[in-house]
């Protein structure tokens, strides 16, 4: 009976983990490391040669590339800032309104606001291109009806406005996600807590600021980091509306479009997969740094409440 004390190998753990680990390795981890590897090589007379960090030196040292890179990073940062100051506050506001007990037709609003999120970028981009078109769009006519025609500009064609316009289109499309997450967080606040607050005389707006907001802060943190990752990986919307050259005059060029143009080439510019992979690696590092700052700097300090 001595053998009974020896623990049997728990095969079932490996078996249950295997599918996820294998699939994740095949479609995420291997490509990630292949990309890092690709960035260290260069095409010399049609064969791949290891060149160390030369691609990164070109990317950050050669003004032909570094100017484009910093321009893309700057635009990308602005794209992110617009999301943070427009999308997330509006998402919180909508969630607060939706959770108000006196609101009627709640599920209708919820669905209507969430629907754009499930649309393809191409559809959203194309629809907005038409709406804002100076020729056939409804935007000039709508502004005309309220007597503000003079405010209309060909927004997507002006350097000063194009990027902000695109960021706002993206906000319109994705505002449903923060709304849903925060709505769920708000619903999970127990009624006893709110009743207790009411007994203490905290109602209405101050109840939101003093009781609900601190309780949904972790959800807001998660949304911020999702926005960050999503924005620095963004590509589709810009490509669908402005094309790979991200006009006018590269004012809407973000890291994703810059990477695409470099990796696959564009018109007479031949693709350079190695330099493209270097840009992809830089994007990966930027996102990694951002996520780490959030994880170690912010998330650990967030106070959580047990109910």
């Amino acid at each position: 009976m001595a053998q009974a004390t020896k623990k049997p190998i728990r095969w079932h753990i490996a078996v249950f983990l295997a599918p996820a680990v294998l699939i994740y390795t095949a479609i995420m981890i291997i490509p990630l490391f292949s990309t890092l590897q690709l960035a260290m090589y260069s095409d010399v007379e049609n064969s791949q040669v290891y060149v160390g960090l030369q691609n990164f030196r070109a990317l950050f040292g050669d003004p032909q590339w570094s100017d484009q890179f910093w321009n893309a990073l700057k635009n990308n940062t602005w794209f992110f800032i617009v999301h943070m100051i427009v999308q997330n506050p509006i998402g919180i506001l909508l969630a607060a309104l939706l959770s108000s007990p006196r609101l009627r037709m709640r599920s209708f609003y919820r669905t209507a606001i969430f629907i754009p999120t499930i649309l393809s970028f191409v559809i959203a981009g194309f629809a907005w291109k038409l709406i804002l078109s100076p020729l056939w769009g409804v935007a000039p006519n709508l502004l005309d009806m309220v007597g503000l025609k003079s405010l209309f500009q060909p927004w997507l064609g002006k350097e000063a406005y194009a990027l902000t316009t695109l960021a706002l289109i993206s906000v319109w499309q994705f505002v449903g996600i923060p709304m849903m997450l925060i709505y769920a967080a708000l619903l999970s606040i127990p009624d006893e807590l709110l009743e207790a607050a009411e007994c203490d005389g905290i109602t209405g707006m101050s109840q939101f600021w003093k009781v609900k907001l601190p309780l949904i802060l972790p959800a807001i943190g998660i949304i911020s980091i999702l926005t960050f990752v999503g924005n620095f990986n963004a590509f589709d919307l810009i490509y669908a509306t402005q094309g790979a050259l991200a006009g006018p005059d590269f004012s809407t060029d973000i890291l994703g479009t810059f990477m695409f143009r470099t990796f696959f080439g564009f018109q007479l510019q031949l693709g350079d997969p190695n330099l493209g992979a270097a840009i992809a690696t830089a994007m990966f590092v930027i996102i990694l740094i951002g996520v780490s700052i959030y994880l170690f700097g912010i998330q650990r300090r967030l106070r959580r409440y047990q109910f």
Binding site: Q64, S133, L135, P154, G247, P248, G265, Q267, L270
Partner: protein
């Protein structure tokens, strides 16, 4: 590691494709960006070939024009590309040849039907090897609404002065937008703007070759002046032309709201279908009456053979047929606006196409200046030209600044210009 993942990918795609090529028939697949031409290939060109060559089946498999280069390169690298490859002119195809993706085909019998100029776009720099059969060129000019011109009592302009007088007159009348062009998609400004009117200033081939040899600079007056002309177009374009895309411009014109369309001849078949008014065309205006005229007659499409094809013999048979007079006539007539590069005379029925091709008799032909050799480095001259042309058209950059930016970029890597 990379190799094994590639192999896995390859195996996955092959599993999907196996079972197609079972019969003894050789099946050829054509890679192309001309998805607009799908029906013409399926209904006219391929049946004509198959009737003559029983035992060879041909499939036309196009992808979207803007994605073609990227898609094709990935497919060639993975070994899944079709047997026949539609060739972009110059460096894009040359690099495919140098990487061993395309076969040399200068020994095909019917290659004798093409002049050296026609073959230049798909030959090595020394002209010794050719890797694609030239199919067609496109000519630039202006297409106009002939009914509108008649209504307003204006004649197609010949000189620059007349051209602006015409624009001014249409603008004053107010019924039509004088010219349909936008800056949003950028390539229109470069292709249908700068390189459309430019050859009259830089004297076609003379200027283009001088640029390649380093004798002229992009900041020289003959290269800056077309930008100044382009900037002067702005007041005659539609409201909000900054955000007007290429399909917007096409629709403006075919709906009869704009009078003039700076065009490439590929528009002919589209406009014939969509416009219900009479169309006319005029060549890019010259500076002074009696000046020699130059047109952009750009070698645009060729077709070559995937070096790794399993049906090399069948592919060569097909390519030889593409070089024949029969194909030239079939193609030019099914796709008016794509002009055959064959030395054989090709009769065309479409009047607008005839008008375009008639300019070849009086004017000297040239190709787009950025395409041969000088778009090999970084920054890419042709991409820069798109951007600068669009900036100049939007008034965001002065013609001189734009030209300087192009010259600085080119001089940055191209030795003859340093």
């Amino acid at each position: 590691m990379m190799k094994s993942t590639k192999l896995a990918l390859l195996a996955a795609t092959m599993l999907g494709a196996s079972g197609v090529a079972m019969a003894q028939d050789a099946e050829l697949t054509i890679e192309s960006w001309r998805n607009d031409d799908l029906t013409i290939w399926q209904e006219k060109l391929i049946p004509a070939f198959e009737a003559k060559n029983p035992g060879i089946k041909v499939k036309f498999a196009p992808s979207a024009p803007t994605e073609y280069n990227a898609v094709l390169n990935s497919k060639l690298d993975a070994g899944t590309a079709g047997d026949l490859i539609t060739c972009r002119p110059f460096d894009a195809s040359l690099s495919l040849y140098q990487k061993g993706h395309l076969s040399a085909i200068q020994d095909l019998e019917n290659m004798a039907n093409f002049s050296d100029v026609a073959k230049a776009a798909w030959s090595t720099d020394d002209g010794a090897e050719t890797f694609c059969v030239p199919m067609a060129s496109v000519i630039h000019g202006f297409i106009y609404n002939a009914d509108a011109f008649e209504e307003l009592g204006i004649e197609p302009p010949k000189t620059n002065e007349e051209f602006f007088a015409v624009l001014e007159k249409i603008k004053e009348d107010g019924t039509y937008i004088p010219m349909a062009m936008g800056a949003k998609d950028q390539w229109e400004a470069a292709t249908m703007g700068y390189t459309n009117i430019g050859p009259n200033y830089w004297k076609g081939e003379e200027g283009r070759l001088a640029l390649i040899s380093g004798e002229q600079k992009l900041t020289d007056d003959q290269w800056v002046e077309p930008f100044r002309q382009l900037a002067a177009w702005a007041p005659y374009l539609g409201d909000g032309y900054e955000a007007q895309a290429y399909p917007d411009s096409q629709n403006l014109f075919t709906l009869g709201r704009a009078a003039i369309f700076p065009a490439g001849s590929w528009e002919i078949s589209i406009f014939n279908d969509q416009a219900d008014f009479k169309l006319g065309a005029f060549a890019p205006p010259v500076q002074n009456a009696g000046d020699e005229c130059y047109i952009s007659d750009h070698t645009d499409i060729g077709i070559g053979m995937n070096a790794k094809t399993e049906n090399a013999e069948a592919a060569r048979t097909f390519l030889n047929w593409v070089g024949s007079a029969e194909f030239a006539s079939l193609y030019a007539n099914s796709l008016p606006g794509f002009f055959s590069l064959s030395s054989e005379t090709v009769e065309m029925e479409d009047p607008l196409a005839q008008e375009f091709v008639s300019w070849r008799e009086n004017c000297k032909s040239t190709i787009r200046p950025a395409h041969q050799i000088i778009s090999r480095g970084t920054p890419n001259l042709w991409n820069e030209m798109w951007n600068v042309s669009a900036n100049v058209l939007r008034g965001a950059q002065s013609p001189e600044d734009g030209a300087k930016q192009l010259q600085d970029g080119l001089a940055g890597w191209y030795e003859p210009q340093q």
